[in-house]
Each structure stands twice: as C-alpha cells, then as structure tokens.
Symmetry: C2
Subunit: 197 residues, 2 copies
Amino acid sequence: MKGKRVVSPPGRTKIINAMRELLEERNLNSITISDIAVTAGVTEGLIYKYFKDKRDLLHYVLKEHYEVFLLQIKRDLKGLEGALNKLRKIIWSSIERYANHRVFARIILLEVRNSDEYFKSEAYELVREFNRIIIDIIEQGIENSEIRQGLSSSYIRNAIFGTIEHSCMNRAIFNEKVLTDETAKNITELIFNGIKP
Amino acid sequence: MKGKRVVSPPGRTKIINAMRELLEERNLNSITISDIAVTAGVTEGLIYKYFKDKRDLLHYVLKEHYEVFLLQIKRDLKGLEGALNKLRKIIWSSIERYANHRVFARIILLEVRNSDEYFKSEAYELVREFNRIIIDIIEQGIENSEIRQGLSSSYIRNAIFGTIEHSCMNRAIFNEKVLTDETAKNITELIFNGIKP
DNA sequence: ATTAATTGATAAATAATATTTACCAGGATC
DNA sequence: GATCCTGGTAAATATTATTTATCAATTAAT
C-alpha cells in the first residue's frame, strides 16, 4: 500500500539522526563527516549517496524541524482573532520552540546564515513562508488600527524576531535555560507597547 | 624611538589585510588558507607563524574593528546627559557601523558565534565591555525613571540589539544597503515607546 | 669586528577531512 | 535465469589545514 517513497532507507534515517544527535552538543564545524558516519553506524560514502555534503544534510535537518514548527504555528493561529493576539501566540510559540529544541535554535541562529547555499535551500523556503505569515498579520494589524501606522511592517518584524532571537541566543550557544512564559510575556509587553497606536 | 612592538611585520599586516579583503565578498567557509596566502602574497606557513588558525585570524580582525568601534562609542557618549539620549546615540552609531563596514557586520552577525574559541577571544572581551556599558546606561535609566521599572535590563538590551542586528542582517548577507538615519529613527522610536514609564 | 641569537619568511612534508569511484549483495522485474 | 535497481561498502583520490626544517638578514653581545 505504501506510496512511492514514504519511508527513507534505514541508512539515510540513521545519518539524519546522527546529525541531530551531534548538533545537540557540538557546532557544525567541529562535526566531521567521519563523526557522522561513526555515530550513524554507516560508511562515509553513504552520506554522499543521500546528501550533497555536510551543509546539505544540515539544511535537511533544519527543513524537517521547520516543517513541524510551521505546522504547529498554523494550528496555533486557528480560531484566533486579531493581529495582536496572533502575534502574541507566534511570539510564545517561537520562544517555546527555541527553548525546547536546542538543535533547531543552533542551526537557525548560528549555523546556516553564513552560507550561500542555505538561501537556495528548501529550509529557507519554509522560513520565507513563515515570514510572509508574520508580515500579513502585521499589515492586517496596521489596517484595522491595532498597530499604529507609520512604521513599516518589516521594522516591526525585525523588532519581534530580533528580540526573540537575541533572547534565545544563549540557549543555543551556552545551553542556558530559557523561561518560555516569562520571556514571552516580557517581549510581548515591550513590543506591543512599542507598536500600539 | 618606536616602542617594543608598535609595528607588525609586513607579512603579518598583509595577511590581516588579505583576510579583510576576502571577507568583504565571501563568507569564512569559502575562504581557504591558500586564498589568504595568495591574496596576501605570502606563503601559507607564515599565517601559522602569526595566528593559531583561520578562526584566530578572524577573531583578530574582529578585535581590530571592535577597538575602533568602542573608541568611537566612548567618544560619542562624552558630553551626553540622560540614559535615553545615550541609548539613542549608541543605536545610531551601531547601525552606522554595520551599514558602513560589511566585514564587521559579517564577522559578528554571521561568522563568530558558532565557535567555542570565540568566547575565549580578546574580541569577545571587547563585546562584553560594550555590553556592560549598555547595561549600565539602561540601569541608570531605570533608576532615574527615564525607563519604566519591571523590565529587566537584559531584556531591554536584547530588544535593542536584537532589533538592530536583525535590521542589519541583510546588509551582511546580501550586501543590501542600510539607510542609517531612517533605520535608527524607527528602531529608537519603537523601542523607546516600548520601554517608557 | 666576529660570532651568536632572534626575526621574518619560505618550501616542502604531513595530517586531517571531504569527496569520488568502483564494486558487491540481495531483492524485484521480466 | 538473466537483468536491473537499491542500499550499501571499501578504498582511492582530492582538497584543505597544519607542522617542520631551513635560510637569510638583522640585531645583540663579546
């Protein structure tokens, strides 16, 4: 019954899991192809069977993470009314994601943005999709006067995500705990005060 | 007359300049030791005479940049009164720095934070010094009621620098122009609204 | 002034990593 | 039963980073 390619071959799965496992503790640069192969229990060559190179694998891991994140975000927004309510939810959910998934935080905050290939990757496509969702909400908020006019939507987005990312950076770098609720509350309050009409 | 080690040997200077030149256009990962040596017109071995490895050289380049940045910031603050006035100046100066120095922006926003050695480097020491200056100003602002209470100083700092960094990220990545004055104005307005009592 | 140390630099060897290639075994296919 | 995918291996090769041995020109010391 199972379609054309529902399950990925065992070796491939082991490689992906090995990469995740290694990224939990170390940064990309210190992880070698050989490390990945040993951790996965496969041969180095197999990695190149399924991925172009180390970064390609990295982008794939990010893509998987981002897919579930985006799905969660979309579900979170269902049934909510009002731009600010939606933004509040997105802020909380984003922080919660970084707080509970160090690998996700590390990849996106520290590892991908310094390579050209990332911006051609499927993972980046998902990031852009998320970005469009945010921008739409902000513009809707400006339209119905929940958010004051005169500030371009991209500044507001930068403020929201810049603040979130900075607040979660030490989580990614030093494995410091992030208090999701408190952080979300403070950031939301600060930003909402800043953008209210 | 010249002191113990005022001038660095020509080869060393050429290496540092080569690294700066290459970082103007490409990311660290795509720059090889050989690239640096060729650009500098020296042999590869010489690089290891003066620097532990590629990252050590990167940190040195950042340190040089940060020294002049910090000096400028300190001068900027002279004669200013009031926490908000000082913060406004720091925001403008930081944006201006990123806007006019792509190498500086690239190194600090994209290249260093994913390695452990960075956090032991002299460059990072300077970053911490800057950070202390900011935190002091914010706390002083809270004390004399220019800034409202109840928000911890580190949240405010995260908001300020997260927003700035996010706003300058596309400058570092895609070499997009940053409109310093406009960006500074918008960010300042947004943040100050967010933190006023 | 002559020798010894230090300094700035090179060229070549070695080590570490990444990547490609050739090959193999076990199904599915026909 | 021959053929052809598929998932996989092992070994060769390429690329990049790093170390070592050496040298000429100063500088310092006798």
